[in-house]
């Protein structure tokens, strides 16, 4: 039997909320799929669209951008800027024909370890039927 496809997810997590949330999931020993590669950034607002395109280009099957809940940003309004920018990126990626499920955004606070594990579980579940992402990938 062929091995089941395991998607690779690149997650850009903000240092103050989402990254702490994923840490909480880790220290409380919650189980979640190991498909995710977390990258801590100082703020979700510092995620350049180029990071996202580049992640897909270098082989990610899915990309997640996660930040603090609106109003909870460590830098007061960083995540509001993220929201606008990511909306545009999402629209653009859908427009050129990338499956919309492959790019997601979430709000995860430092206390939401459970929500983080659930997001990853759902993301993996959604990506599995899609198969590997070859559209933006270099030398697929």
């Amino acid at each position: 039997m062929a091995e089941e496809f395991e998607p690779k997810i690149v997650a850009f997590l903000c240092k103050w909320c989402s990254s702490a949330g994923s840490d909480l999931a880790g220290v409380t020993r919650m189980e979640y799929p190991s498909n995710v590669v977390p990258i801590t950034v100082m703020c979700s607002g510092s995620v350049s669209p180029l990071y996202i395109f580049s992640a897909f280009n270098k082989g990610a099957d899915g990309v997640l951008v996660s930040g603090c809940h609106p109003g909870d940003c460590h830098y007061i309004k960083g995540n509001f800027y993220t929201r606008r920018r990511i909306t545009m990126v999402k629209k653009l990626l859908e427009y050129i024909g990338l499956e919309p499920q492959r790019f997601q955004m979430s709000w995860v606070s430092a206390a939401e370890g459970t929500k983080y594990t659930q997001i990853i579980k759902d993301f993996v579940k959604e990506l599995k039927p899609l198969g590997p992402q070859t559209k933006l990938r270099r030398n697929p």
Partner: protein, 343 residues
């Protein structure tokens, strides 16, 4: 109809008063119909100026070059540069002013109105006249253009040969100017994003097939980047060396630099290049359509920018280039921005 004599008179006056260094306008080129940019310093040279529906170029791009040239000069001429602008070009100026790339004093704007018509699409026109050499094209009284070929004059309906962008233009007159020629006329538009419909109605996979074919063609000549008045970054992310190499930069340091996008024109890299370009122009592109016009492989680049323009308008109520004092799209936000896609 903007009267050419009025345009000449205005430019002559400005040059004679020595208010500007030089004036950038259009003159007859050596290659038939399409005009070339004219840089006019002497008042007597204004006779060379032309204004017809073939004046497609967005001359505001020259301000980017002018700024760089000025920065290198020891004793720069501080006078403004005169610029002949159409509606779309004036919106480009507004964005440059908004981003504080140029100062209002740096430019003397001579606005010419397209008055309900616009400029022609060279390719559409050639198709219409089946390869006949066009000697002259003029605005006619009605919504028509009069073309003169070797066989004589023909009147062609403007709708058939207008550039795509002009058919979707919301305001065919300059929104910022020092001198204004013509009339402020707004055309009624049923659907300002008509060109997008064909693609938007496709399924995801069909859209991908379409864009894949387009991006496969790209040879990465960067003509779209060179012509764009908004692409003025000193360093571009696609260039292999986009960081300072000093004498003490080691080979290892150079090797470890992130190469975001490979130089080779393969589909995967071309896509990232065009996506980056599109997203960098989100909320800045004023739809002058120059990128698409200069593309030697006819990639419909404009459709990428147009899509983001549409989304910006529909989701955030943002229009680029109408007001030099507005806050840019991605450096502002509203509490009620859409967030239904966020988990």
């Amino acid at each position: 109809m903007v009267n050419l004599e009025d345009l000449k008179k205005e430019t002559k006056k400005i040059l004679e008063e020595e208010r500007v260094k030089y004036i950038i306008g259009y003159k007859r080129g050596s290659n038939g119909l399409m005009p070339v940019p004219a840089f006019i310093k002497n008042p007597e040279d204004v006779e060379k100026l032309i204004w017809d529906p073939a004046c497609v170029y967005n001359l505001s791009r020259f301000l980017v070059d002018e700024k760089r040239r000025k920065a290198k000069e020891k004793k720069p001429d501080e006078r403004a540069v005169g610029l002949i602008v159409k509606g779309c070009d004036s919106r480009a100026l507004n964005v440059l002013l908004q981003e504080k790339f140029i100062n209002r004093d740096d430019v003397y704007i001579i606005g010419v109105s397209c008055e309900n018509t616009g400029i022609v699409d060279e390719k559409k026109l050639a198709k219409k006249l089946k390869g006949k050499k066009i000697l002259k094209i003029e605005y006619s009284e009605k919504d028509n253009f009069v073309t003169t070929t070797e066989d004589g004059k023909t009147e062609i309906s403007a709708q058939g040969i207008l550039a795509e962008r002009c058919l979707e233009c919301r305001a065919g007159f300059p929104v910022i100017y020092d001198v204004f020629l013509g009339e402020k006329a707004k055309r009624k538009l049923d659907n300002p994003c008509k060109s997008l419909e064909n693609i938007e109605n496709l399924s995801g996979e069909e859209r991908w097939a379409f864009w894949k074919e387009q991006f496969d063609k790209c040879i990465r000549c960067y003509a779209c980047r060179s012509i764009c008045p908004m692409c003025y970054c000193e360093e571009c992310v696609v260039d292999t060396i986009n960081y300072a190499v000093a004498t003490d930069t080691t080979a290892e340091e150079k090797a470890q630099r992130i190469k975001w996008i490979e130089k080779s024109p393969v589909a995967s890299e071309n896509i990232v290049y065009h996506l980056v370009r599109a997203i960098h122009l989100a909320g800045r592109c004023i739809d002058c359509g120059e990128c698409e016009r200069v593309c030697p492989l006819d990639i419909p680049i404009r459709l990428l920018n147009k899509k983001l323009e549409k989304e910006a308008r529909e989701l955030f109520g943002y229009e680029a280039g109408l007001d030099p004092d507005q806050v840019s799209l991605i450096s502002s936000f509203k509490d009620e921005d859409p967030d239904d896609f966020i988990i």
